[in-house]
């Protein structure tokens, strides 16, 4: 994946670029808004990671400029401002996701990968499948190896979100935001409990587990050997 990081904090940026490269991506750095915009215009990128407060050209202005030119490259906004307000303005300016600083690198990586995939994924598949696990969005049914699995509505949405991002890492915060629509972090491990309950329904009694815990990052659903 080709990533452009627009970030003015040199230390944070070099750490980020290094970590992204270690994760197997190509990453380049622009240190201010103007050079970020010109790089974004001239080359193809899979995802832009843009800091909100940048010298010369503000991050939000950069995104607005790109969007005005019809550039739909997914953008992840990084910001030291974590309020819901700021999140809303960021997304309104054309950002696709918003990550408050300080962030865990695993969180950023998971979000960037999901963003890159979003463009390619065929919109609104009615049926999704991972190995022998099938989910039908129209009839709201889930079956594994031909065996129907009854799920609660919230469990269904949880599984649907995981399956839409099959093979990718999904963090707890991403689940909380997208499945529950809550933008705060509970102190307790509620998400883990929900996952283990879901796991009990879709993996228990089958020889091959599909729902995996990625240590220090989150969860992933896939049928590769873990």
């Amino acid at each position: 994946m080709r990533l452009l990081v627009v970030e003015d904090d040199k230390q944070a940026a070099s750490y980020l670029i290094k970590a992204l490269k270690e994760a197997g991506h190509t990453a380049e750095l622009a240190q201010d808004g103007e050079s970020g915009l010109s790089l974004a215009r001239t080359e193809h990128w899979d995802v832009l990671v843009v800091d909100r407060m940048l010298p010369r050209l503000d991050g939000l202005a950069l995104i607005s400029a790109l969007r005005a030119e019809g550039d739909e490259t997914p953008v992840l906004i990084l910001s030291a401002l974590s309020q819901v307000d700021d999140r809303v303005t960021g997304l309104r300016a054309g950002g696709d996701d918003y990550l408050p600083k300080p962030y865990a690198f695993s969180e950023l990586l998971a979000r960037v990968e999901v963003l890159a995939k979003r463009v390619k994924a065929a919109p609104a598949d009615t049926q999704m499948q991972v190995a022998d696990l099938r989910l039908d969005r129209l009839s709201h049914t889930v079956e594994r190896a031909g065996q129907a699995i009854p799920l609660q509505p919230r469990e269904f949405r949880l599984l649907e979100y995981l399956m839409r991002h099959a093979g990718q890492v999904v963090t707890r915060t991403m689940l909380l935001e997208n499945v529950w629509d809550y933008h705060f972090d509970p102190q307790t491990n509620v998400i883990d409990v929900h996952i283990s309950r879901l796991r009990g329904k879709i993996d228990k009694g089958f020889d091959k587990p599909l729902l995996h815990t990625i240590r220090g990052a989150g969860y992933s659903i896939h049928d590769r050997a873990a």
Binding site: Q83, D85, P102, W180, Y182, F184, Q187, T188, V190, R197
Partner: protein
């Protein structure tokens, strides 16, 4: 200070000047209009009187000739408020009449048109001259007799004088009223505005404790002063809050930062195996995470309390909102036999609230209950009851547990930032959970109330009907 130019610059003075000008102009034109109207009306009346008189005289002349006419004129001249008559022969000798000193040149123009002349009355001394004014018509009769019939105009001119007098009195009175008003405005109103200006100048210079004077008359200046004072109170409270927050940040973040510093220092001072170093780094990471968490919560609370967070409130079903949060936590009870949840709600229970903030407040309360609300004795399970009820004043949300509860004397303190009651010190936590709930409720204009659930703690959040419209009724 130069008093006069300052006086001229005031709005009151300019307004007074403009009003005086406009009213004078209007009055003068009104008087002019009245004068014109009366003049033409009186003249028309006069002409009519003369004409009627002439008809009578013409009849008399037709019947009994010049002598009859002369005796008729004599007769009419003696009546009170008589018209003016003069009959002369061809030499200009008077035959009959009640006016004197009419110049020959006037009598010569005997064309019957209306003329204005000066005349004297019989008995007047020559020194008085032609003292009176009259409108007359002069005719010539066969035999070179000439007849003059007219009407004295002194009535008209005295009326004109009267009107002129009224006008000047009126203008004078207006000027006096304007002057009095101006003095009143200047002395009373300007003085109070000056006072307000003076007081605000001291406030601007940095002393926020001062307040504007309220005289107690309840007039618009008092209302302005009251509003400004309320504003000053709010500013002062905000400044105080800001100071408190920065003090708290300084104090409460210093502690974990010092701890972190010491740990790193201690680890560095000994020889570490790779595994040890990793463990130390992981511990450091989790400690920084918790500091960041505290910091975020603190900032969120501070911004809410300072009114810096816009309320994204919309119409919500409080019962549904609570059910959603509860659903997030319910699996915990399934995992852990020592926790049970009960939910008691009337749905729908409409409230105008910010879903994110109220959900977070409820999540904090549930997490608090799980952390601190456990019953002490034996194996009694923790029962968390979440209830949503529509009260007379608005929707209310209650979370209660069956643990130890909070002493009545500690209940207010428990909602402050960083306050951790003794019973909670042994458990992890930042001391910000209830403070955030408190801030959320304040932002919604609702109330937060802690009470005894017998046993346990009962926390009640009540939204008023106006909740979600910040600063209403405050």
């Amino acid at each position: 200070m130069t008093a006069l130019p300052r006086l001229f610059r005031t709005t009151a003075f300019k307004l007074a000047l403009i009003y005086i000008g406009a009213f004078s102009l209007l009055s003068v034109s009104l008087f002019f209009f009245i004068m014109q109207g009366t003049n033409s009306l009186m003249r028309a009346q006069m002409v009519q009187t003369i004409d009627t008189d002439l008809e009578g005289l013409a009849e008399r002349y037709a019947y009994s000739g010049i002598n009859g006419l002369a005796s008729g004129i004599r007769q009419r001249s003696n009546r009170p408020n008589a018209n003016l008559y003069l009959l002369v022969d061809y030499t200009g000798n008077e035959l009959a009449g009640n006016i004197r000193e009419v110049p020959e040149s006037v009598l010569a123009q005997s064309d019957g048109e209306i003329k204005f002349i000066q005349y004297a009355r019989p008995g007047d001394t020559p020194e008085q001259g032609h003292a009176y004014e009259a409108a007359v018509r002069i005719f010539s009769l066969p035999g070179e007799f000439r007849l003059l019939v007219g009407r004295d105009m002194s009535e008209q001119s005295s009326l004109r004088g009267l009107l002129g007098q009224a006008l000047s009195l009126w203008l004078l009175a207006m000027l006096a009223i304007a002057l009095v008003t101006y003095v009143f405005v200047n002395r009373r109103v300007l003085r109070r505005i000056d006072n307000l200006t003076k007081s605000s100048a001291t406030l601007m210079s940095g002393d926020l404790s001062g307040r504007l004077d309220v005289t107690g008359t309840g007039d618009e200046f008092d209302r302005l002063a009251e509003n400004l004072n309320t504003m000053l109170n709010r500013i002062e409270a905000l400044m105080l809050g800001l100071k408190e927050v920065s003090d708290n940040i300084a104090h409460d973040l210093k502690t974990p930062l010092t701890r972190l510093h010491n740990r790193v220092e201690a680890e560095l001072s000994r020889d570490l195996s790779a595994a040890d170093a990793r463990a130390a780094l992981e511990e450091t990471l989790s400690e920084t995470d918790s500091i960041i968490c505290t910091f975020n919560a603190l900032l969120r609370i501070a911004r809410m309390e300072a009114g810096g967070t816009a309320l994204h409130a919309d119409a919500q079903d409080l019962a549904l909102l609570a059910a959603d949060v509860l659903e997030l936590y319910e699996p915990l009870a399934e995992e852990d036999d020592s926790i049970t949840f009960s939910f008691d709600a009337q749905s729908p229970c409409p409230a105008y609230v910010d879903r994110q903030l109220v959900s977070q407040a409820l999540a904090n309360l549930i997490e608090n209950a799980m952390k601190y609300g456990r019953p002490q004795q034996g194996d009694t399970p923790l029962n968390i009851v979440v209830a949503v009820k529509e009260q007379a004043t608005g929707a209310c949300l209650t979370v209660s547990d069956n643990g130890l509860g909070i002493q009545a004397s500690d209940r207010v303190r428990a909602c402050e930032r960083f306050v951790r009651l003794d019973s909670a010190r042994s458990k992890p936590g930042s001391g910000l959970g209830l403070a955030l709930v408190h801030a959320v409720m304040q932002l919604h204009g609702g109330s937060l109330e802690l009470s005894d659930a017998q046993p346990g703690l009962k926390v009640r959040l009540c939204f008023t009907r106006e909740s979600g419209y910040p600063n209403k009724g405050k």
